[in-house]
């Protein structure tokens, strides 16, 4: 199988999984008794007005027609109602929030930078931290460093980020007054303030998530260092740094990349807990608001967008396998 075909088959699989997720979330959210038209109709809601609201939202059609219109919205946009009061939602349309009078696409575009800032900064930190401590731990197996890192990583895996985040806010925000206690400042407005507000969530998320990577890297590293090609590399006189850096690490990074793709994907889709702790208005808080107000269009739109990010991350990981490991490229 050529590399291009490998990539294409992965992308096709991604589209199928996304369609399945779209269908399932659409069915569950729209077929359950909560009626979005009823909610927007207000009180008193006469049967006439309810029917009007349903027609406006397109809820009077059978479920499969609704689903197809919804899917079509991604590619060609969609229009709610007719005539002067019609609302148009441009492609790619993830739905329209009648409550906020804004398209879901626009809402996502407004909130995504907050979540992406949290997720990407934290992810870079925890990857560096986790991999380096994992390698250090494996190379000095059984030493004091190894044993303390192993203990610390169990603690890190066990502590919820929101709990440590709150303790961090108490210690560094309230008591020491070193960082803000919450909120977000856009990068375009003030890069310094942006960094200042993000530093605590980054460190908290990085410290806790790194724990998993430390354990994973350590385990993989121990296994790889026993392989024949490492002995060969040493035997041909390579220095230890080069053996570890070029020969061992390259193979350790493949399983690490899998986990990293999944973690980053799900964090990008909404750092719900972190956003709540640090009072940041990202995708997660958009979703929580939507839950509180039964804004089904936003619920489905954000759920799908998150699923899209998770699956995209998976596919990127799969494809980067092909680049990291020549055997995948050749063998298929």
């Amino acid at each position: 199988m050529t590399f291009a075909r490998f990539v294409l088959s992965r992308l096709a699989g991604m589209v199928i999984v996304l369609l399945a997720i779209a269908l399932i979330s659409y069915l569950i959210f729209y077929l359950l008794p909560a009626n979005p038209a009823q909610l927007s109709c207000g009180r008193p809601c006469t049967p006439d007005r309810l029917a009007q609201a349903e027609a406006f939202m397109g809820l009077d059609k059978p479920w499969w027609a609704q689903f197809l219109t919804f899917l079509g919205g991604f590619f060609v946009g969609r229009t709610f109602g007719v005539g002067g009061t019609a609302i148009h939602c441009d492609a790619p349309c993830f739905g329209y929030s009648f409550r906020l009078s804004e398209s879901v696409t626009q809402l996502i575009a407004e909130r995504a930078p907050v979540t992406f800032s949290i997720a990407i900064g934290a992810a870079v930190l925890w990857l560096l931290l986790g991999v380096s401590t994992g390698v250090a731990s494996a190379l000095r197996r059984g030493s004091l460093i190894d044993r303390s890192l192993t203990t610390l990583s169990v603690a890190g895996v066990s502590a919820p980020a929101y709990l440590v985040g709150l303790l961090g806010i108490f210690l560094f925000g309230f008591t020491l007054n070193m960082v803000p206690v919450g909120g977000y400042v856009p990068l375009t407005q003030s890069p310094v303030q942006w960094l200042w507000h993000l530093i605590l969530p980054w460190i908290v998320l990085a410290l806790l998530n790194a724990a998993i990577y430390t354990r994973l890297t350590r385990g993989e590293m121990l296994e790889v260092m026993g392989e024949d090609y490492i002995r060969t590399a040493r035997a041909k006189g390579l220095r230890e740094g080069r053996v570890v850096g070029r020969h061992a690490l390259r193979n350790v990074l493949i399983p690490v990349a899998t986990v990293f793709g999944l973690d980053l994907g799900s964090l990008l889709g909404g750092a719900i807990l972190t956003e709540k702790v640090f009072a940041m208005q990202g995708l997660g808080s958009l979703l929580l608001d939507a839950v509180g107000n039964l804004d089904l269009q936003v619920l489905v739109g954000v759920t799908l967008f998150s699923a899209f990010l998770i699956i995209l991350a998976n596919v990127v990981v799969d494809i980067s396998y092909g680049l990291l490991d020549p055997r995948v490229k050749a063998g298929g």
């Binding site: 709150l166 303790l167 709540k276 998770i310």
Partner: protein, 310 residues
């Protein structure tokens, strides 16, 4: 796959017995974890007794324990002879009782959700592995879809639209449990694939045993160790999921005490009353860590091969 040292010392699946307990006892971290788990189980069972001894219950308001700003009066969030862990801000409910009863919520949801995902995962994994073919392919597609699902987001959203008449705690157990099965199914499927080539399975089949009999009587007993290990390892994740939902205000409904909800409520008070965060937080951290330590130890003793693979 597994090279040398570890597999030589121990068989792939050790039979629980004298040897098992001796080896588990040697792992001090696992023993510590086990002791903490037993302690929390006792606390959860004896919750009414414990809070009665302190002269409180988790539901009564005690406005006398609060200052004029509705924050607890006195040292450490209102710690006193009457309120051992202080009181909740705003309501003055006894924090010791809330934490003690919270253990019930955490353990009950965590363990029952684990039972749900283990039951689903084992059945699906064994069938997929043993039957193979189309069944197997469909199962692995479904697994892909579930792994791609933003499960926390989905559970939150689902909680909002399910009719109020549906018991919320039961819903939480079901959904947390449901999203957990693919991990276990994947492991069980792998083990089943390996086991089904063994001679005793072939012999059973040759002597006319049907697929149901082979799966239930030949395969399942040999999967016990793996199932126990993965059940234990997945309990802390389930406890964490319940706490996260309660933290976000969409978990076990109030006034049932839940550590996650207390931590969520503590956000508004962390600058004034940090002890309101510390007690429920410490409880949640301890039980999660205890299960992690115990699970790791159990895995090393019972199932070293899967332990190495992760």
């Amino acid at each position: 796959m597994a090279s040398g040292a570890l597999t030589e010392q121990t068989p792939v699946v050790a039979r629980p017995g004298v040897d098992f307990w001796r080896r588990l006892r040697r792992d001090r971290a696992a023993v510590a974890g086990g002791v903490i788990i037993v302690a929390f189980v006792l606390i959860a069972l004896l919750a009414p007794v414990l809070s009665a001894v302190s002269g409180n219950n988790p539901y009564d308001y005690d406005l006398d324990a609060l200052g004029p700003n509705t924050a607890p009066k006195g040292f450490g969030g209102g710690i006193s002879a009457r309120h051992w862990f202080g009181v909740e801000p705003l309501t003055g409910r006894d924090l010791f009782s809330v934490v003690v009863y919270g253990a019930r919520t955490s353990l009950l949801v965590g363990i029952t959700a684990t039972v749900v995902s283990v039951a689903l995962g084992v059945v699906i994994g064994v069938v997929a592995g043993y039957v193979g073919g189309w069944t197997d392919r469909i199962v692995s597609r479904v697994t892909d879809v579930i792994f791609g699902f933003p499960s926390l987001i989905f559970i939150i959203a689902l909680g909002a639209i399910v009719p109020a008449s549906f018991p919320k705690s039961f819903l939480i157990v079901l959904v947390i449990g449901f999203f957990g099965w693919p991990t276990i199914a994947r492991v069980v499927r792998g083990q089943t694939l390996a086991l089904k080539e063994r001679n005793y399975v072939t012999a059973a089949r040759a002597s006319g045993a049907g697929p149901l009999h082979v799966m239930a009587s030949e395969l399942l007993p040999n999967l016990t160790a793996t199932i126990i290990v993965f059940a234990t390892i997945s309990i802390p994740g389930k406890i964490g999921a319940e706490a996260a939902l309660s933290f976000l205000g969409v978990g076990v409904p109030p006034p049932t005490p839940a550590w996650g909800r207390s931590i969520g409520d503590a956000i508004a008070w962390v600058g004034i009353d940090p002890m309101f965060l510390v007690f429920p937080g410490a409880a949640l951290f301890l039980i999660t860590m205890a299960f992690n330590l115990f699970g790791d130890g159990l895995r090393d003793v019972l199932d070293p091969r899967t332990g190495r693979a992760r």
